[in-house]
């Protein structure tokens, strides 16, 4: 038969990162390419205790179908946790999703027609590009500075380009590790307040701040904003549980879209995660993760200072799992990738994170999923590879 795929499939391709991850499966390669939390941070024993409790007391209920919105006590827990951080959110405004990734997908389904314009930070989270690409959106981008989005450029693009939705990762962004300053948060809210552009704030890493002070989400200053959250980085990514916070008129549409997508998120693990969260000191657990990642990040920064040639720039993230490296202008991180693989070390070339081209001299490093030994050894190897690239360039 002659199969005709939908037009939307022309806009997305197999993730470049997936392809890279295949190359790096060789156990001799030290890989900073992935984006995984450190499995040592997973509360395995506590999850098992939670399962025993849930199945022992409410087993039949926990294995049955449930409501599309999600387990209400879990939604209340999320609302309570926001309240402690100063953000007032009604339980009815929270929808449980399959990680924050599904929050992106559902928000797109609810708002985007083919050809609608989505504005990304430049660079941005790759799977958001893919998700909005499947909805046949057009892409625009706005530069990301050290303290968040370039607000002058933001005003310009909003004034000129009829932007339907602005997608932003305000804390320890993937891929750059950049965090919006307090000033930028308020400024972005102010810029968006009287416009019809939907603001979608993705915050999967927010709890993993290991330096400095927590800052409120932009949604604190922008009532109509939408906010995504996730249990992936504080409990378990394998459970695929996250949430959307949205105004009530949007919630109604999201519930319809969620129902048509998969009826509801895994109810058994919603019950388990809720049990885990209420029976344990979550803040203590998060503090443990923060300490772990702080050490890994500090070591990686230290190794860069020690092993990388002059002229290489990099971010110094205050949280999250990634660090972003910028090579001197004219150098290609794709060429570096080949040299690095020969040194048995891997990363993600930055190009993939730019929705409108560029970023040839950038790369993403993950620090959360490597031991101290691997960071020490791997960053040394990467320094050697960068040195070789620079040498090649000089002698061309």
């Amino acid at each position: 038969m002659n199969k005709q795929f939908a037009d939307r499939m022309n806009n997305v391709h197999k993730s470049f990162i997936r392809e890279i991850l295949k190359v790096t499966e060789d156990p001799n390669i030290i890989s900073f390419a992935g984006g995984l939390p450190n499995p040592k941070s997973f509360p395995v024993k506590e999850v098992e205790e939670a399962v025993t409790k849930v199945l022992g007391t409410r087993g039949e209920e926990a294995l049955q179908y449930s409501t599309t919105e999600g387990y209400r006590p879990l939604r209340e827990y999320i609302a309570q946790r926001y309240l402690k951080k100063g953000l007032e959110v009604d339980t009815d405004q929270i929808l449980i999703t399959n990680g924050s990734q599904q929050g992106i997908d559902l928000t797109g389904k609810v708002f985007l027609n083919k050809g609608d314009r989505v504005l990304f930070e430049n660079p941005t989270y790759l799977a958001a590009i893919q998700s909005f690409g499947l909805l046949e959106a057009e892409f625009k981008s706005v530069p990301l500075l050290e303290d968040g989005v370039d607000t002058d450029a933001l005003i310009k693009v909003l004034d000129e380009d009829n932007i339907k939705l602005f997608y932003s990762v305000t804390n320890f962004q993937n891929p750059t590790g950049i965090t919006y300053s307090q000033e930028k948060r308020e400024k972005v809210a102010e810029i968006l307040r009287d416009r019809d552009t939907i603001f979608l704030e993705d915050n999967p890493y927010g709890e993993i701040r290991f330096l400095g002070e927590d800052l409120p989400p932009v949604k604190s200053y922008l009532e109509e904003g939408m906010l995504l959250g996730s249990f992936s980085k504080i409990v378990s990514p394998g459970m695929r549980l996250g949430w959307i916070v949205a105004p009530e008129d949007v919630m109604e549409k999201l519930v319809i879209a969620k129902q048509a997508s998969d009826l509801h998120s895994n109810y058994f693990t919603q019950r388990v995660i809720y049990q885990y969260l209420t029976d344990n000191d979550v803040d203590k657990h998060i503090e443990k993760i923060r300490e772990m990642y702080r050490n890994q990040r500090n070591l990686m920064v230290e190794m860069i200072a020690e092993h990388f040639p002059d002229g290489v720039d990099y971010t110094k993230p205050e949280g999250g799992m990634f660090l972003w490296v910028t090579l001197p202008e004219g150098l290609s991180s794709l060429e570096l990738f080949d040299l690095a693989i020969r040194e048995n070390v891997a990363f993600v070339p930055g190009k993939a994170f730019f929705c409108e081209g560029g970023g040839d001299n950038t790369l993403r490093l993950n620090f959360s999923n490597s031991s101290e030994e691997k960071i020490e050894e791997g960053m040394g190897r990467l320094g050697v590879a960068i040195g070789k690239l620079m040498n090649q360039k000089e002698h061309r």
Copy 2:
């Protein structure tokens, strides 16, 4: 702000069934309206043992991110089980999804442009109408006879209407309980073989055959067909795990769409369900469910014969969870619903399952989730309500 939702949201509304289920939350009402498996059939203790084993031996791995395609041993298990039933499927052609509902959503994403024509059985599964509605497909329908789709009508609509995708539930269909005969299966495959129409065969109830002999899926005779399966009716619906079987070129697109939707399905429960399936005698467990549902179905049929007035027609399903009632021409099941609620009994009026109108005199009854006492009492009440409706009609 002035929010502009996407056009696709105009095509779907809050599920009519959801609204009905709210009415029936009153504990005095005996409800045959829902579509739930019997929670007594859930293997709670065995799932707990599986969790203990998974977390005890591979805890960190089970809580980590995983591949989009799903846990390979689980996919192999599914392929093996098909092989035992005579269908040869390669493990690489199986994608793990969030129930078979997500199989519908992803297949639509991969194939359907706005305005593409989807053909449904008439009546059909409501959430499939919703899912394809979100993709802005146009709907066509083809009558369902006692032994499956009307094949003459099928040929006609395929010849005339440029159908992109034909969605079919071949075993114990929701809502009618109708099953395709062996002859119809082969005939449908033959009709579709040289056409470009995608055949999407949804089979969530196939394992729950309590009368007669298992029949092979249409895909057995149609290599390019797509087939959906689910663990919801044999292990736990709350875990939201199912799968798609698709030819390899389609799989590649499905993986991209799945990744953009939610990266992958809950990996922890994939591991748990696999452990459960390998450590237990699944066929014995399924036989237990079959026996339970057979008794419930037999009792409901018996009660219809006893309590319903002459002239009311009904299906006698060989499996699944639903039975379909047709009132004499000219009677309205929506009017019956009001009378039934006054008798403290509920069902789903059939209208909702017809994508092109009609079905005013039909209704769906669920037998899997009611005790024998409730079936006896509730069907008596429903008989009274139908009698009152007929009386009203005569004296109008």
